[in-house]
């Protein structure tokens, strides 16, 4: 490997500070005498700076934590065996073991007699409930004012978007008008709006629309989303 190739390979680690000190000393000396490699070093610094400046999407970490904690508690109250098997196969058994494939595993233990009795009782209860449900009158086809509101039924393509906290309503209107979109739902707990085309006949969100939204500094996040 010639000097320039070696320098080229080492440059990213100089830029991110993870280079070995011996290599750093050599690379410093090389850069002092090589304008081309200095140019590449400068280029990589710019790439690093651009990545560092890229805005991040703000989720709602506390809400996410609450959801996860409920799942953990649910694991602890009844689905522990499944949860343990899944976590085992999810690969954290060793620091180098990231394997997340889930090989078929034998059950951890045979069901104990009391568990069999409990399962039989549970099955019987489910059967009784199913019969009761089948015999109950059908739900009315109307909605009263005290019924919980029915969520919007959104068909067709959608965009999930988060607006900057400082954006005014007038800005949102202007963004939506220029993008040909309207708000169908939201904001969610995480501040996400579901946007749909104003023209109901549009079957796909044009890439140019997404690009325009992403380029708009008032929009922190814009991606095609699930309905």
């Amino acid at each position: 490997m010639n000097e320039h190739a070696r320098a080229h390979e080492l440059l990213p680690w100089m830029v991110n500070g993870r280079i070995e000190s011996r290599d750093a000393a050599w690379l410093d000396a090389h850069l002092a005498s090589c304008a081309a490699c200095r140019g590449e070093f400068s280029a990589q610094q710019r790439v690093r700076d651009a990545i560092a400046r890229e805005p991040t999407v703000e989720f709602a970490p506390q809400a996410g934590f609450n959801r996860l904690w409920k799942r953990i508690e649910a694991d602890a109250h009844g689905t522990t065996a499944l949860g343990a098997a899944e976590a085992d196969s999810a690969g954290a058994g060793a620091s180098q073991d990231f394997g997340l494939e889930r090989p078929a595993r034998p059950p951890r233990a045979r069901a104990t007699p009391w568990l069999r009795v409990a399962l039989a009782a549970q099955a019987a209860a489910i059967a009784v409930l199913c019969i009761a449900l089948w015999r109950s009158p059908p739900a009315p086809s109307y909605q009263t004012v005290t019924d919980p509101p029915i969520g919007p039924v959104i068909a067709g393509p959608v965009v999930k978007a988060i607006f900057d906290d400082q954006v005014r309503v007038a800005d949102v209107k202007e963004i939506l008008a220029t993008s040909g979109l309207v708000v169908a739902a939201g904001p969610s707990e995480a501040g996400v709006y579901t946007l749909v085309p104003r023209d109901a006949h549009i079957t796909d969100i044009p890439p140019a629309t997404l690009e325009r939204l992403r380029a708009d500094p008032r929009v922190r996040f814009a991606e095609p989303g699930a309905r």
């Binding site: 390979e9 999407v57 999810a90 620091s95």
Partner: protein, 199 residues
């Protein structure tokens, strides 16, 4: 999020290890603290990897659920962040596969320059670079991001992406070559910068 210096990363890892040890003992508050720290770090690259807000959010919780369950098995051979990022990377690939999504390589690679060399002004450099990065294959883009966005070493990136070290080097090599092709003026300004400036 600039790549931290080696010293900062070491200090951060020591903090992560202390938290993880408490998590292994079932400490909910320590887990909440670790969750908040890694939620932000994971959201960034998972959103970019999956391009789907919902999938990214789901993968974050899947990843940290595994961390909760397996914290006691962490042997400490790598940094905590490398371990967690590796889990997240695999979980994301699995989530995408289960939905029949391919990795996001939506924009075909074109080696036509995006901008003429003399038009690469300082004010727009970052925007052009980010635009060019979106045209890289996902694996190459992520290798750059793990290196520059998260400050991982070559060996750590190989662990996260479950590939040989040479593959990481190759991905970075091609990513940088494509960025140069797309942005010929990238190395133009500041070519005379001193070598040790960023260390």
């Amino acid at each position: 999020m600039a790549a931290a210096t080696s010293h900062q990363q070491q200090a951060r890892d020591e903090g992560d290890r202390r938290l993880l040890a408490r998590v292994a003992g079932g400490d909910r508050e320590a887990f909440r603290e670790l969750y908040i720290i890694y939620h932000r770090r994971l959201a960034r690259f998972l959103t970019r990897l999956t391009r789907q807000y919902e999938i990214a959010e789901e993968v974050i919780n899947d990843t940290l659920w595994v961390v909760w369950r397996k914290a006691g098995d962490f042997r400490g051979d790598s940094r905590v962040s490398t371990w967690i990022m590796g889990i997240a990377y695999r979980r994301a690939l699995k989530a995408l596969r289960s939905r029949n999504h391919a990795l996001v390589d939506a924009v075909p690679i074109e080696n036509e320059p995006l901008v003429a060399p003399d038009e690469l002004g300082a004010a727009e450099t970052s925007e052009w670079i980010l635009l060019a990065m979106r045209q890289l294959p996902t694996e190459q883009r992520l290798a750059l991001e793990f290196a520059y966005g998260y400050g991982h070493s070559c060996e750590e990136i190989a662990l996260i992406m479950d590939c040989p070290v040479n593959t990481v080097k190759t991905r970075l090599f091609h990513a940088r070559a494509k960025l140069r092709a797309l942005l010929p003026g990238l190395a133009g300004e500041g070519a005379g910068a001193t070598a040790g400036a960023s260390r």
